[in-house]
Subunit: 222 residues, 2 copies
DNA sequence: TCATTCTGGATTGTTCAACAAAACTGGGCG
DNA sequence: CGCCCAGTTTTGTTGAACAATCCAGAATGA
């Protein structure tokens, strides 16, 4: 009961390492020594290599032949691509959704949890709830492939967020926006909800891109 | 020059095994013994396990804990999901495409190659060209994530096609359709091209689903 | 002084051997 | 006929080993 699916050591370790990467414990660009990290995670080097394959395929790590793997360093092109994917998937998902789908409940829970986290000043929690909210939107499609693909893209996006200073500025303005979208969905006005989501994505993208540009200008001098 | 990217033994082996699965050399549901397959592919068992992780994540293999991996057995729900993904990605890709994109050339090449293959009676070649044609459509977006995701879905779809008898019936009616879409694109009439593509997908889905239903009824009696 | 070459050490890529744990197989028994 | 139980096979994981490659710093030469 405590462990519904043992799922094997490799996937478990992959989840742990993924969490560390997303949480920013490992900085983008940092090389990951196989022996060292294997010791840190208490797994064998072979098992760690299986984990590396998975996370590399997910886009969180990059692999250079004979030079090992490093944490992927997000690029503006990558962020742009991810937002295009988000628009392409999320907006139709919401527009064609069934108003009484189970995932609507999850959306509501995410909005509530985001508010609780904001009250507590837990900005990382706010970010997590926001991500879950949009994951729930995609879950409206009942498509396992879309859901998995979207989760992957969101993990990459979180990695990019970790680069920016003050992630609170990124999520705070959009808290009420999520609530508004949820209300429109609950009123079965899917077209309005989708339009509002599209606007959300445009603005969010702009905020992230400007923050990113400022970062790159600051890091790479003239 | 002969080998532009060594890319490592694992990914090379993954490509080989992927080709074997797609080509139908390994039947869906068949269990893959690690030691045996490792010997067949002339790689170590550890390397093969890395390959298994990759292809499992791609959806071509399934992994049961302590029971090894087997070739994934396509389901009607899976095919349905894949066609939804195709519609969601391909139609907007075509609708918003730049008429002079480089991928349009690849589309033309695929149409030509499909015709050549049909003349030669090479139906598997026709199928490959058809797949490449739609991959080129997605390439119109210049989105690496969409392209990779779509390629994965198409690989799964090919696995499902392998189940059906007489795959020629699946591709033959759509050869001219591809040509018509290409002409509309070359005339910069993207809306018409997208509409025709949507119609193509609807009809193709129906053909595949009926073939699939006939198969399942024949296999599972009563 | 500066650029080049060389060399030693560290890291990756891959294989092999070993073992615990779980699943499958076949026979024995109620 | 169904259940249990030992033996065998297969998976899951680890550790060690070795070649190939890369990296840093010393040695060399202009």
């Amino acid at each position: 009961m405590t462990d519904p699916n043992p799922a094997g050591l490799a996937e478990d370790t992959a989840a742990r390492l993924r969490a560390q990467v997303i949480a920013g414990h490992l900085r983008p660009g940092q090389r990951l020594s196989e022996t060292r990290l294997a010791a840190d995670l208490s797994v064998s080097r072979n098992t760690l290599r299986e984990v590396f394959r998975l996370l590399t395929r997910e886009g969180l790590l990059t692999h250079a032949p004979n030079r090992g793997v490093s944490v992927a360093v997000p690029s503006m092109a990558g962020v742009l691509d991810i937002y295009r994917v988000r628009r392409l998937i999320e907006v139709p998902a919401l527009a064609q959704a069934w108003p009484r789908h189970a995932a609507v409940l999850r959306m509501a829970e995410c909005v509530a949890q985001a508010r609780i986290a904001r009250e507590a000043g837990d900005w990382r929690g706010v970010g997590s709830a926001n991500m879950s909210f949009h994951a729930a939107i995609v879950a409206l499609t009942d498509s396992p492939r879309l859901t998995a693909f979207f989760a992957q893209a969101m993990a990459e996006l979180r990695l990019a967020f970790g680069l920016l200073d003050s992630p609170e500025q990124l999520h705070a303005p959009f808290l009420q926006e999520n609530g508004a979208i949820l209300e429109l969905v609950q009123q079965s006005d899917m077209d309005a909800a989708a339009a509002r989501l599209a606007d959300y994505l445009d603005r969010s993208e702009r905020v992230v891109m400007t923050a990113f540009a400022r970062l790159e200008n600051g890091v790479t001098p003239g």
